[in-house]
């Protein structure tokens, strides 16, 4: 079994197959990372971000953005000091935030671990948008639970709207002062923030320590408490003795054979040497940008429907932040350790289908050290400025939100016309467009976030950053949709190519809808575990 991509999907598939005595080769174009590379103990820790290194990010292009319209002025970004706005007339492009490497983007994720709501699997039937999933919540539930147990998720006894067949493996973290303050503000508006389910255990779990609340998840977790995929799935896969892992191995070719089967793969290692490998099955798990890119670059492999690259869905989000009058020490705690589900149901937002979630914000906006405060939130200079900085540090308080993003024909991934990677393959070109329906949803929830922030005691919103102003995505989905109809989807309900009998896809690209802001990694894990069972069944002749 060859698995290409060692992020959330590939890692879970590797473990699920290896534990069933299937021999697995797991490769990734990116490198390995080790705990000592995460520099959050160093003197200059605050200036250190995630330790990207050569090969740990894929190259891509982002097409020019849409015109920014006056009617969406409530979605324009502004920054401290003075609520400065840009003069841009068109949507800018920031980044597709991801990591290539063993563990993939989970290496720098904050670790929200969410199930989708049952309704999210039926967005077309119930709300007439996106497409239904060919799998139901009930079918996925045992796999959700299994993935949560592998990760050691810390979560509350229940999560609204999501039935469970077993408890989270570790108790929820106690909400930080920031969460408490934002929660009190929300209460005044009739809303509630409840403990979030997150990937860092609240007690020692399967050899991993409990979280010590440094807030640096996005820089990489040096303690190994955060449940990124190289710890939760790759390591157990290796322990089975049935899995080999090869970082810095890039897929450049999948060979088509007769009878609708692939017959081999060609990989290029970090030294530029080509390796051929023959496997019974081939699993692509490279994410919703790279997986369609590879298929399209390999002469449209698996694209009989013309759907590869279509239905791209992105992170539709806003951050709003200000300074709380009280010393809440918001640099401490698990980032986003509570969540507001009140707008999460697909029919919760007036006038537009699709939900959202809101979380407290400080650490993920990098307000965890004095340097960021000094350069942005605290104005002035001189000795009085230093006094002011000491007084202000720990008071940053914000609310972040992520909305559902429904697919539309103008959002898709294709190939660059002229840019190629180090192996001569065209790089991905991301085309993103946000129709009015998306912006109405984002505007509604952004306004709510600002109301919550002000109700919590913050006198003024100092910064508002939205993905209307700039394309900036970490959760990307939908470009190799799963579905029952081979003309409208790329893979079937088991994530197997409609045409190629031994080609499978196991990442967010198979999502028919985005969910309502939930972190997608748990659903990818669960789908991968389920897919592994389908592969084993096929190998054993049961299908």
């Amino acid at each position: 079994m060859l698995i290409v991509g060692a992020g959330a999907g590939g890692a879970a598939a590797a473990w699920a197959l290896a534990k069933q005595d299937v021999q697995v080769v797991l490769v990734d174009a990116g490198p390995e990372f080790t705990a000592d590379e995460y520099k959050v103990s160093d003197d200059d820790w605050e200036r250190q971000g995630f330790p990207y290194k050569p090969g740990s990010r894929g190259r891509h292009e982002i097409a020019a953005g849409q015109e920014l319209l006056d009617r969406w002025s409530g979605l324009r970004s502004f920054y401290a000091p003075r609520q400065r706005r840009s003069s841009r007339t068109h949507r800018g492009t920031r980044e597709y935030s991801h990591v290539r490497g063993i563990g993939g983007t989970t290496l720098h994720f904050t670790g929200w671990i969410h199930r989708l709501r049952p309704e999210a699997f039926e967005m077309n039937t119930r709300f007439g948008v996106a497409a239904d999933w060919p799998v139901s919540y009930a079918e996925l539930e045992p796999y959700y639970l299994q993935a949560e147990q592998m990760i050691g998720v810390a979560g509350p006894a229940t999560v609204a709207g999501r039935p469970r067949s077993g408890p989270f493996p570790t108790p929820a973290h106690r909400p930080s002062m920031l969460s408490q303050v934002i929660g009190k503000g929300a209460e005044q508006l009739g809303l509630s923030f409840v403990p979030n389910s997150v990937a860092a255990p609240s007690v020692d779990y399967l050899g991993r320590p409990d979280c010590n609340y440094c807030g640096c998840c996005h820089k990489g977790c040096p303690r190994g408490d955060k449940g990124s995929a190289e710890l939760t799935f790759v390591r157990p896969a290796l322990e089975t003795g049935n899995c080999q892992v090869f970082p810095r191995h890039t897929l450049v070719e999948l060979m088509r054979g007769q009878h609708d089967e692939l017959t081999g793969a060609v990989l290029v290692d970090g030294a530029g040497t080509r390796h051929s490998i023959v496997a019974r099955h081939y699993i692509l798990a490279c994410g919703a940008v790279e997986t369609p890119r590879l298929l399209l670059a390999m002469d449209g492999l698996g694209n009989e429907s013309g759907q590869v690259g279509r239905n791209f869905m992105e992170t539709l989000s806003s951050d709003v932040i200000g300074l709380h009058p009280d010393q809440i020490g918001s640099h401490r705690g698990y980032p986003e350790d509570s969540v507001c589900w009140d707008y999460n149901s697909p029919d919760a937002i007036p006038g537009t289908p699709g939900g959202a979630l809101l979380v407290p914000l400080a650490a993920s906006a990098d307000y965890i050290g004095p340097a960021r405060y000094a350069s942005r939130l605290v104005e002035g200079f001189g000795t009085s400025f230093k006094q002011q900085l000491i007084e202000t540090f720990g008071k940053a308080a914000g609310v972040a939100l992520i909305c559902e993003n429904l697919p539309n024909p103008r959002s898709f991934v294709t190939l660059s016309k002229d840019a190629v990677d180090e192996n001569g393959m065209a790089i991905a070109r991301i085309n993103s467009f946000l129709p009015d329906m998306e912006l109405e949803r984002l505007a509604f929830v952004t306004a709510k976030a600002e109301e919550i922030l002000l109700a919590s005691g913050v006198p003024k919103v100092l910064e508002r950053v939205t993905t209307y102003e700039h394309f900036a995505s970490s959760h990307v989905m939908g470009t190799c949709r799963m579905g029952a109809d081979p003309e409208k989807s790329v893979v079937n309900g088991s994530q197997r190519s409609h045409r190629w009998k031994n080609l499978w896809i196991s990442d967010t690209s198979v999502f028919p809808s985005s969910g309502a802001g939930e972190g997608p990694s748990l659903t990818v894990h669960a789908l991968s575990l389920r897919m592994a069972d389908a592969i084993v069944a096929q190998v054993n002749g049961a299908v």
Partner: protein, 172 residues
């Protein structure tokens, strides 16, 4: 009758976009020829030490290498380099010829006026970039912020009780 000092200063500080555009070629040319590097360094040293002087909270910014950080932040292109030279010219002109030679009160007034300028002015944008570089450098040292009573690097100790109020010092 002579103008009051603050009015004189205000007149000098009235650097319009036009004046800055006129200064730009001079700044670029001086960059090409390496003119006045010594003087530029003196002005920048005085500037970063006005932003962050030596006091009971810590050393002067220049003693921490902030001038080199600033020069590095504005390197890499002629345009970037010219911006730094425009900042230096602005400070010197506003201070009556030499920012470094001015008394501390005048320096403070000059930087304060720059700090208060409209965010739409070129000079303010350059100032903010410079200020940001200096601040990120100075407060980006865990050792220095610990000396101020702020928490240093968050690991390996983390924080024990984020669910409780913060006392404003140390780990919790």
């Amino acid at each position: 009758m002579p103008e009051p000092a603050d009015k004189q200063l205000a007149g000098r500080l009235r650097l319009t976009r036009r004046k800055l555009l006129l200064l730009a070629p001079v700044a670029i040319l001086s960059g090409f020829l390496g003119i006045s590097t010594w003087r530029t360094d003196k002005t920048l040293t005085a500037f970063v030490d006005t932003l962050l002087p030596a006091d009971e909270y810590g050393p002067a910014a220049s003693a921490t290498g902030a001038v080199q950080v600033l020069q590095s932040a504005f390197s890499g292109s002629l345009a970037r380099n010219a911006e730094l030279r425009i900042l230096v010219l602005w400070l010197d002109v506003a201070a009556g010829g030499s920012f470094a030679g001015a008394d501390p009160e005048t320096r403070f007034q000059v930087v304060d006026r720059l700090d208060q300028r409209s965010e739409h002015t070129t000079s303010w944008k350059i100032y903010r970039r410079a200020r940001s570089s200096v601040m990120l450098h100075y407060f980006g040292s865990a050792e220095r912020v610990l000396a101020m009573g702020l928490p240093g690097a968050p690991q390996p100790d983390g924080y024990d009780t984020p669910h409780l109020p913060w006392t404003g010092a140390g780990r919790d």
